[in-house]
């Protein structure tokens, strides 16, 4: 019964979101029409909420007459993972997409701010059409409420690898980010239709872009962290097509966060900001297409249905066609704003956007190249991590060299010489790091440059805080704390980027890795540590049985115990690895239990990794996300102060 309510609510949402689209475009300046549009957008969100709650209820009650529940859940599963299973599969995740899009539409409709009536209603209308497109796809090609007759007695269970808190939160965060990019898209299309993209428009755009970027950052970091500790491969980023699919919208969102600042503060770059908003949503849809169509071989596996891939491709074509078409037609009519000098904060933000856009383009080429080669009959190929490391790293490196300079310059015309003088200590610190790293690593040039750039970013961030605090009277240290939240949020995000760079470069370049076979009582020396296999034990978990290796780690006079397991879940024919991680000052010791060695006298295969500074990667990403959240708070406060 509940799932019939859900299916009905979904149909109702579809009809109402189409009406939202029509009303958004038809609305004249009448206040009553605007109120009707707001109410309609809110009804769409409520109806979609009912559909979503119905699906979650079907999972909580383990209603196996619903096909997706039977395929993805199991009565033995802990409640939290029953709920998370609701969006851990294709159908449920599409419903989540629709739900998020409808909620964003309602928020957009309810918070009009200082926007003109025409622009606002058209943005709400476009958002309604975006929701309708996603709903059409969900209803006709991946209905989450389809029934099974006869209903099975037990569900097929969720992949045990996916029963994990980080992975339960990973898809919703990514979807918030992906779908979050639809609001800047709607605002951009509305601006093109109205022929106006002014500072009030950019002011409305900024919080959405920031929120989408923050969610993408958190979502990608969670996925990376999960891959690191759950897959047992010792790595955190593989340049896999599905990872690239989330990285491209992130780069576009990052560029948009910065260009929207220029448009809001100075009125310039409006046309480019609109183009970025269109491309950002295009990347988000392309990401969905790459993940859902299975056209690229990836370490991620999803059930593949070519009709679905084609449908997403059609939606992508419609969105980009409408976006670029309107852009080509209307963008030349947008009024030009004040110019700026070659050395100014605007110009540095242009460089930021240029670098991020080129990086996104390079990732796009690398990701789609196998498809192109196959389409022209060149055989099956894959583009590996070396391509991305050798193209994306230098581009982002150049960008990071410029980054600390940008915030120090003033708007319109900046004074490069005085900025460079202030940044001299940071540059000296970077150069010192470069020399020290070169000496310590026996002249490994590329990683040394990377680490030095990371230090330069961090030192540059602190230099900016220091410079801002030195303005005016009073003690500098006391004033640093009292600096505006907007200054702090930006500095935290930029310093976080530096921390992430240091972690990523160190982990990639200086990781140690070794496969060993140990019988209980035997030991091995690895990364300055003595690792001894004490004993093997059998363990019973709530819905699995495990073989556990108990290891003793001796390091600099200290002894610690570390466990790693192979788990056999009753619902899955495949064992999973539970890695043991010991985080120290110099990085992570990471051990993964393999299989027993045949004729090996009770020996077990173990894989040992030493991942230097790997926690900097996740810590840096967390700092960037915190910067995003604080920046949102700063925007909200400013809006309250001057509505």
């Amino acid at each position: 019964m509940i799932s019939e309510i859900g299916a009905f609510a979904l149909c109702l949402t579809f009809a109402m979101s189409l009406a939202q689209g029509a009303l958004g475009f038809a609305t004249s300046q009448h206040a009553s029409r605007a109120a009707a549009l707001t109410a309609l957008a809110q009804c769409v969100a409520v109806a979609c909420l009912i559909a979503f709650v119905s699906l979650v209820a079907a999972y909580v009650r383990s209603d196996f007459s619903v096909a997706v529940v039977a395929n993805n859940s199991h009565t033995d599963k802990p409640l939290i993972y029953k709920i998370a299973a609701a969006w851990g599969n294709h159908e449920g995740s599409m419903l989540l997409w629709c739900f998020v899009s409808s909620v964003f539409g309602a928020v957009l409709a309810s918070a009009r701010g200082g926007q003109s009536a025409g622009l606002w209603s058209k943005a709400v209308g476009v958002q309604g059409l975006v929701t309708a497109g996603a709903l059409a796809y969900t209803l006709f090609l991946s209905n989450p409420f389809a029934r099974l007759d006869p209903a099975p007695m037990q569900g097929a269970g969720l992949n045990p690898l996916l029963q994990d808190p980080a992975l339960a939160a990973h898809p919703p965060m990514l979807y918030l980010g992906y779908v979050g990019m639809s609001v800047p898209f709607s605002l951009a299309l509305a601006a093109l239709i109205e022929g106006r993209a002014d500072q009030a428009w950019a002011k409305a755009l900024r919080p959405w872009t920031l929120a989408a970027w923050t969610c993408l950052t958190v979502g990608i970091a969670l996925g990376s962290y999960w891959a690191y500790y759950e897959l047992g491969w010792g790595g955190w980023w593989f340049w896999d097509p599905v990872e690239n699919a989330s990285f491209m919208p992130w780069l576009a969102a990052c560029a948009l966060v910065h260009s929207a600042i220029v448009t809001e503060r100075r009125g310039s770059l409006a046309s480019w900001t609109i183009l970025l908003a269109i491309m950002g949503f295009g990347f988000a849809l392309l990401g969905t297409f790459l993940v859902r169509s299975g056209v690229l071989t990836s370490v991620h596996a999803f059930a593949v249905d070519p009709r679905r891939g084609i449908a997403v491709l059609i939606l992508l074509g419609l969105a980009l066609g409408a976006g670029f078409g309107l852009y080509g037609w209307r963008a030349p009519k947008l009024s030009r704003a004040a110019g700026f000098g070659a050395v100014s904060r605007e110009s540095m933000l242009v460089w930021n956007n240029f670098g991020l856009a080129v990086a996104a383009g390079v990732v796009l080429i690398g990701t789609l190249y196998p498809l192109i080669v196959e389409a022209v009959g060149g055989g099956l190929i894959s583009v590996g991590p070396p391509f991305f490391n050798m193209t994306v790293a230098p581009l982002l490196g150049l960008l990071f060299v410029l980054l600390p300079v940008g915030p120090m310059l003033t708007w319109r015309i900046g004074d490069m010489r005085s900025v460079l003088v202030r940044l001299a200590p940071a540059a000296a610190l970077g150069a010192g790091t470069l020399i020290a790293t070169l000496a310590l690593t026996h002249w490994r040039v590329a990683p040394a440059i990377g680490v030095a750039i990371g230090v330069w970013l961090i030192a540059g961030g602190f230099t900016y805080l220091w410079t801002r605090a030195r303005r005016g009277e009073g003690r500098t240290l006391a004033k640093i704390v009292a600096l505006p939240l907007a200054v702090w949020s930006m500095s935290i995000a930029h310093i976080g980027a530096g921390v992430l760079v240091i972690g990523a470069i160190s982990e990639t370049a200086f990781r140690a890795e070794r496969a060993v076979a140990l019988a209980p009582g035997q030991g091995v020396d690895f990364a300055d540590r003595r690792i001894t296999l004490l004993t093997m034990a059998d363990v019973d978990g709530p819905n699995y049985e495990a073989t556990r290796a108990i290891l003793r780690i001796d390091h600099e006079g200290e002894t610690v115990q570390l466990n790693t397991e192979r788990r056999f879940y009753s619902t899955s024919p495949m064992p999973t690895t539970e890695v043991g991680i010991l985080t120290g000052l110099d990085g992570d010791l990471y051990v993964a239990l393999g299989e027993p060695i045949r004729n090996g006298g009770g020996a077990w295969g173990l894989r040992l990794y030493h991942n230097p500074m790997v926690q900097f990667i996740f810590g840096g990403a967390l700092m960037m996300a915190i910067g995003g959240v604080l920046s949102l708070v700063a925007l909200a406060r400013r809006r309250k102060a001057s509505p």
Binding site: N159, L161, L231, G232, W233, G294, V295, T297, V299, H300, A301, F302, A303, A342, S347, V350, F354, G355, V358, G361, V362, I365, G366, Y369, P370, V373, G379, L380, I381, S382, V383, G384, P385, P386, F387, F388, M390, T391, P394, L395, L398, A515, V516, A517, S572, P573, M574, P575, T576, T577, A592, G594, E595, I597, R598, G600, A603, G605, R607
Partner: protein, 136 residues
């Protein structure tokens, strides 16, 4: 000035992309095509089914198994931990190098998260040999 600098960066990006694509694309080869298609020492992806009964591990942590597409079979050596979903009789992609008369030396072995999934290249290889039994 800005435009010429931007042009320089674009040229650099294009050069890097071009060089990167020349050097880091990896061709996919099925076991029966290995002798004709792969140059000794060239990095390739070998895909097919793991031959049942062929998996062995020695005390040094070196794994060996055979990959087949129904036509030929190729022995693979891999020093490392196999993915959790690696199974005899199931699809696998091994990335590494090969020389005539020697085993294929894999540096990476990919099997998928999902037991229902088969790498697309493997499906393609099996279809070419007429060994594919799954859906079209």
């Amino acid at each position: 000035m800005m435009i010429s600098a931007a042009g320089a960066v674009l040229v650099l990006a294009a050069a890097l992309t071009f060089a990167g694509l020349r050097n880091s694309i990896v061709y996919f080869v099925a076991p029966s095509e290995l002798a004709q298609k792969a140059h000794p020492g060239q990095r390739i992806r070998l895909g097919g089914l793991v031959l049942p009964g062929s998996l062995h591990r020695d005390a040094n942590g070196v794994t060996s198994f055979a990959v087949t597409d129904g036509g030929a079979q190729v022995n693979v050596r891999y020093e490392g931990l196999l993915p959790d979903l690696f199974r005899e009789g199931q699809g696998v992609v091994a990335e590494g190098t090969w020389s005539p008369g020697q085993a294929f030396t894999a540096e990476r072995v990919l099997a998928k998260h999902d037991e229902r999934y088969m790498p697309r290249e493997v499906v393609e290889a099996l279809r070419r040999r007429g060994e594919w039994k799954g859906p079209q």
